[in-house]
Subunit: 164 residues, 2 copies
């Protein structure tokens, strides 16, 4: 079980977008060029981010994307769901219903219909991860990153995106 | 990103094994038959559980498997790692090192060598899930399940495995 590499690109792209001055949209082509990755590759993830309501197509002839929500309203979990999909990590196939002796014993619903505890535990484990990722917003990520990034590098990066 | 169906089978198999009277080993063939699944399919997961030190080959001509640890020492997380592997959920490819302007700016190590915060957040999210799953042992699962399972069904199941 692994997260896809697309998630890493999606999160980094969104971080660049948060750092651009308000009102600037950015093209997938520029984001791809800046990160040394192919535009087609990145475009797939932007389609997912758009469908999830995290980015939106910018108006105007130049196109590109802008954030569809404020950075404090976009969490890591939103991005994970957008890229990886919404199905739970653990897919219970109700394998216990195929137990050999199940029909023969006339079992009460309390045993066969209640949620399987293995399933419940796995779902709760995912909840822990979800809760944590839902606390981490893009605004927080941006704030933290800005304390580390040298100001001239940040300026150079912004200028590059704005010029492109 | 998904857990494999093998994980569901592995956890259910281990639960059957915990419920057998001490000293009984169980064959993959019986576990497969009982659950209505192919033996070859299940055998793959038992190889993984054995490599992870969760089960061991039972001595004697009849073979089969028995638990290699006490049920209170086997956690859900052990089983997840055995079946899904030990690599972290989120694989950071250090994509930030390929940023276009990175060389040109002579950036300090504090920026380029410190762990990427996106990576850190994703690892901590997995930690939350791991912590939770490490608290849940097979002994606990067994205890909880035994309060729900009708006693005659449990007895019939044990008898079936012991007879086989
Ligand atoms: S039946 Fe699916 S986890 Fe138990
Ligand atoms: S470089 Fe891998 S998550 Fe940032």
């Amino acid at each position: 079980m692994k997260f896809s590499v697309g998630l890493e690109y999606a999160l980094h792209c969104l971080l660049y977008m948060v750092d651009l001055p308000e009102g600037y949209s950015v093209g997938v082509r520029e984001l791809a060029h800046y990160q040394g990755v192919s535009e087609t590759y990145l475009a797939k993830f932007f389609t997912k981010l758009r469908k999830a309501g995290i980015v939106k197509a910018a108006p105007g002839v130049n196109g590109g994307y802008e954030l569809a929500l404020a950075p404090q309203d976009i969490t890591f979990w939103h991005v994970v769901e957008a890229i990886e999909g919404k199905t739970p990590l653990f897919q219970c196939d109700e394998i216990r219903q195929r137990e050999l002796l199940l029909d023969q014993d006339n079992l009460p619903d309390a045993y066969t219909k209640c949620p399987c505890l293995i399933h419940t535990v796995m779902n709760e484990a995912e909840d822990r991860m979800r809760q944590y990722l839902n606390e981490k917003t893009l605004a927080w990520l941006h704030g933290q990153t800005m304390t580390k990034i040298p100001q001239d590098h940040r300026k150079a990066m912004q200028d590059w995106f704005i010029k492109e």
